[in-house]
Symmetry: C2
Amino acid sequence: MKQIVQCIPNFSEGRDLDKIEKIVSPFRGKEGVKLLDYSCDEDHNRMVVTVVGEPEPLKKAVLEAVGVAVELIDMSRHEGQHPRMGAVDVIPFVPIRNVTMEEAVAMAKDVAAAAWEIYQLPIFLYEKAASAPHRENLAAVRKGQFEGMAEKIKDSQWHPDFGNQLHPTAGITAVGARMPLVAFNVNLDCNNLDFANQIAKNVRHLSGGLRYCKGIGIELKERGIVQVSMNMTDYSKTALYRVFELIRIEARRYGVNVVGSEIIGLLPMEALIDTAVYYLGVENFSMDQVLEKRIME
Amino acid sequence: MKQIVQCIPNFSEGRDLDKIEKIVSPFRGKEGVKLLDYSCDEDHNRMVVTVVGEPEPLKKAVLEAVGVAVELIDMSRHEGQHPRMGAVDVIPFVPIRNVTMEEAVAMAKDVAAAAWEIYQLPIFLYEKAASAPHRENLAAVRKGQFEGMAEKIKDSQWHPDFGNQLHPTAGITAVGARMPLVAFNVNLDCNNLDFANQIAKNVRHLSGGLRYCKGIGIELKERGIVQVSMNMTDYSKTALYRVFELIRIEARRYGVNVVGSEIIGLLPMEALIDTAVYYLGVENFSMDQVLEKRIME
């Protein structure tokens, strides 16, 4: 059975189509690598690439794209609304099939070491690859952004894991490994943002809720409703149905109802199959009963 | 994107391990063909093989296995509880990915023509490949079984689609195309078989229920409960959640409750993903958001 890893590198270029195409091209037409998606945001001036592949060819393609981005993107002239610290801002590796988290961490470290060696691009390891607990969270790692990084990395708490100085134009990159994220939003039949924020607080890990759930309330202005917007950081441990039912329960306190949900972007089939198995009360179900899983083996 | 078809040939040999291994061997180690499962039943004296593959190599492998079975199985000496009419009793082709039902029907006809030409094995086409409505249903086609077939095929209503006489030892085979079957059973918290049978009648197509649902009541004696045992013949049109919720509603009439369910054997991921999307109320969901679907493309 082949090993499959997903990688979602974020590049600090979301406007110049010529540069975007050059950065993406190392992911095209390669044996063992498949470009699933790339989406650019003009306001953020940022591109998110989604690619899957076998470990060795995937690492090679990612490194190649890093080289292109380091050459083409000048962070000293970069403007955009999204927090960022490097030409390649962040590179997460996600184990998908027949791959352990330890192997994904090893891939992150390989790419990190090579990026410094080949391109003199310094690296913070983050999430499951982090070298210390305070470096796990990407927001903490990126705090200060490109403009503040030269100063930040002088602090012994924030020495890069690879390299010892900022790249003059490409800045610094976070490379790590994590579980697949599922972006799961639940809609409420009211327009009170406080209710959505309060429910988000009740179900998210940070403030006493479910361990692998991050969440905030947001307004869907054009529909006149609010939403609990979440990132499920490990659907295999905090199931989608669990947070969905919990939101339904919490919503009662405010006299509001759940009226639907949305899933943004890609998610592994298991996240939804597990939810179906829960609602149907299927006994003794095994993922080996799923035809596509067997075909992929 | 590769085309993938499933085939579930049923052979009238479930006891002799040497013969079983020889019949299965054409499905092993072939490019473009993958043996997923084979299960033998001593009482039925029957083997059900589940194999997937690309159309051309799959047809070749199936024909090869038919040849082995025709050579090894003597129906004039066959005993077993399951209805059967041939050494290869039935060969359904099931479109799985990037294949239309019309293409699966064409595969069935190709295999049927070749089986007669090469092995002088006569064929009834059935289900979506049937040459007339009264020949769609396998039970109707097989009625009379091996022992009655020589007589049955003299009736102009039952001339074989390929061939004009029974094979002396291998009998006759039904070859067809159909949607994937999902074997879905729903458990009730009572031991009254009449209730299960009555609920089965209410939800199945035959007696006024859902179009792509067949069902009967059965007893799970060791657990002291009864079950509505179903074959869902087109999950894309009659969804699993629909029959599950309908059984819950029908059960109220008898004062009983649904206490769980089971899925027997393999099923396509979409059958369960569709159910999860229903229960979570996911808006605008697309199967293209499923990572594994994208990887398989």
